[in-house]
Symmetry: C2
Subunit: 419 residues, 2 copies
């Protein structure tokens, strides 16, 4: 255990974790059986183009999400684009700024204009009132995000959409397996899009899916996923290649089958974090709202700098030096990213602004041991307890933290500048 | 051997091949070693996001194609889009109509306007004169296709591009491993895009790559492939998810390593086809032009209905009934597909029109045995020799051929209608 600030890796001490812990380290179960599945795929000769594993994967996703149709796609960004094109969206779409950049970028890439609305301070999901303030004559859809596996305020959003004649396309990248009052994510709005990227608690390495109860929309999404081809010599729509292949689907089938085990591990991790972090001043572990059953794939905390004694950016940097590769999603905020930074906001984003400076994520998942979490918890406790001394050290070092040898970013961030 | 037309599967006989032969059946070598590679990927925990196998794959592709940079992408359609966006293309792009629909669709999907030019009757690649007739003030690029592994008339196309200040982006989906006068495909124009789809002679199940000698263009393609993210909290460009994952790259590494073996098999297949088909009236086996070294991944023939006695569509249907799943790429022609059919052509496409009605592909690749090719050759000989009798039978049946039980299309095409 580190007792003195001098032992902190940021200041020259040995990192607490030589092998770093990542947010979103891929979960894999039953690797031997999965390996056999992959060999079977290879030997079958049926490797892609709507193969049997993809179709089985789609049935499984439909079942879990209570959606009539599932269209597996090579990734969630492409899935969002296919769904948007299948709905004939044009003009403006309302999205949160507090989301992974893929949400607005997927829309902008195909010529739609993302307009950023604010989020609810508790759930971190789109604020329906803020959405309403963003609607213009050009608006054709709302694209809310079930962030961290919290479920959006779906009834209020549906009312706004219905009142203004807008399509409702959920980016449910974080929320596979979640539900609101026992209604599974996958059955809200006109369509929802899941991500099965390797960083998600269940995944197909890269992958995504569109789910919908709308027969025609599903048919069109299928067409658009494979070039709009509808026969050996018939092309009846403008489509692209959005196909998931059989190796991905084989991984997806195994991880989704392991969902209960993974979710249980995440719940247990979260419980331990809760015990270790609950009484640290200025640190708040976020909870899903009432009625929401979450997949618990993210451990999200907020740091109140005044009470904690260190800023969120300082905590992230100090932890990263120790090999705890915490993240500060979604700084700097989509509305500050290229190409959106130059366009005026239609509505202020006060909650988003605050969250962008205070929210961070800690590692969880199958690969994390209880002892790892204990050590992370103790580290964070120590950071808070010795925050005054740490601030002094950071001042002397002009804000610099020694980077962890394995840090891909090697981020020698000047915290003074960042702060 | 079938001696009577009554034995033809189209007319109720037993199919020559119960297990059908496909154009583009995936080539796989050393499946056991490949399976081990896949297990290693799983155990490494590094599954995607510019992993070590993807980087190794990129180096290999660079080496083979003599291009300074390679950016591996989830598929070639996405690769074309990333390259187009990285070049800031806008307005119109000139493409052949005689190509797989992905070429124009990739462009149209992101708001560019494909304008169709005609092709050369020998090489089936873009005719530089026709290209020049299509150029308008709105044109920003030419997107030629090295069809069937024939290499385009690169010098003439470069002259046109330079004269009009246009970018030159090659769709080289068919032409990995090919060269023109010893200059490898991959080093022409501003950038080239390869396909490594499972139907290609070497493949990564799904996959593509951008190759270029332009440092800045390569950097931007890399950025656009991963959401424009350039740091832990920095997003500096409009990007999407175009990532190839590690399982795909592992397959790609093995198949590209096996390129000489696969190419040799294809050459041997082609040689045998040549022997069997060379003296059939009205049948022409296409050859690469002088100076072109082709990967031989397609066996492309043309059928002259008057001399052969049957139309290309009839030959395709009769063969498909027998389990020889020949294809008639690229009927009906991109310019007749949605959403292009309604727009006027800028220049006539007489060569394209002729090829659309006469060109067809026969199976080749590792899975084809010499005895299979012998049987296919004999079948085609018989079709030609008994074409008069077959035409009578088709007339009686109102053009209908019995579909092969395994035909995914179950295409009970009325040849009368199709003709």
């Amino acid at each position: 255990m580190k007792s003195s600030t001098l032992h902190l890796a940021a200041f020259g001490g040995t990192p607490e974790f030589i092998r770093p812990l990542h947010v979103g380290h891929p979960n894999l179960l039953e690797v031997d059986q999965l390996a056999e599945d992959l060999v079977q795929v290879l030997r079958s000769g049926y490797l892609t183009n709507n193969g049997p594993r993809v179709r089985e994967f789609e049935q499984l996703i439909s079942r879990v999400s209570s959606a009539k149709h599932c269209i597996a796609v090579c990734n969630a960004t492409t899935a969002l684009q296919i769904a948007a094109k299948a709905m004939d969206l044009h003009g403006e779409v309302i999205v949160p700024s507090f989301t992974f950049i893929a949400t607005p970028h997927a829309m902008k890439w195909i010529g739609l204009e993302p307009v950023f609305a604010d989020v609810n301070p508790e759930s971190h999901t789109l604020d329906p009132d803020s959405v309403e303030r963003c609607i213009s004559e050009k608006t054709t859809a709302i694209v809310p995000v079930h962030l961290w596996g919290n479920v959006c305020h779906t009834e209020a959003l549906q009312r706004v959409a219905t009142r203004h004649g807008l399509r409702l396309l959920y980016d449910s990248s974080h929320a596979f397996g979640c539900s609101l009052n026992d209604q599974p994510v996958g059955s809200f709005g006109d369509a929802e899009v899941f991500s099965f990227h390797a960083t998600k608690f269940v995944h197909s390495v890269e992958g995504g899916a569109i789910v919908t109860n709308d027969d025609q929309l599903a048919d069109r999404c299928r067409r658009l996923r494979a070039f709009g081809i509808t026969g050996l010599t018939e092309i009846s729509d403008l489509g692209i290649n959005g196909k998931m292949h059989e190796l991905s689907a084989a991984v997806g089938l195994r991880t989704v089958a392991g969902l209960p085990v993974i979710q249980k591990a995440n719940e247990s991790n979260r419980h331990l974090y809760q015990q270790l972090l609950h009484d640290i001043p200025g640190l708040h572990l976020t909870h899903p709202e009432s009625g929401v059953s979450s997949n618990r794939q993210y451990v999200v905390i907020t740091i109140d700098e005044d009470q904690f004694g260190l800023s969120r950016d300082q905590v992230v940097s100090l932890l990263r030096s120790e090999g705890v590769f915490a993240r500060s999603y979604f700084a700097p905020g989509c509305h500050r990213a290229t190409p959106y930074a130059d366009q005026p906001l239609r509505t202020p984003l006060p909650v988003t602004e605050r969250l962008l400076n205070t929210v961070m994520q800690l590692p969880t998942g199958l690969s994390l041991r209880a002892s790892d979490i204990m050590r992370i918890g103790k580290l964070i406790q120590m950071l808070q307890q010795q925050s005054t001394e740490i601030q002094k050290q950071l001042m002397v070092r002009n804000g610099r933290c020694n980077p962890h040898p394995a840090d891909p970013a090697r981020m020698e961030i000047s915290l003074k500048e960042a702060g």
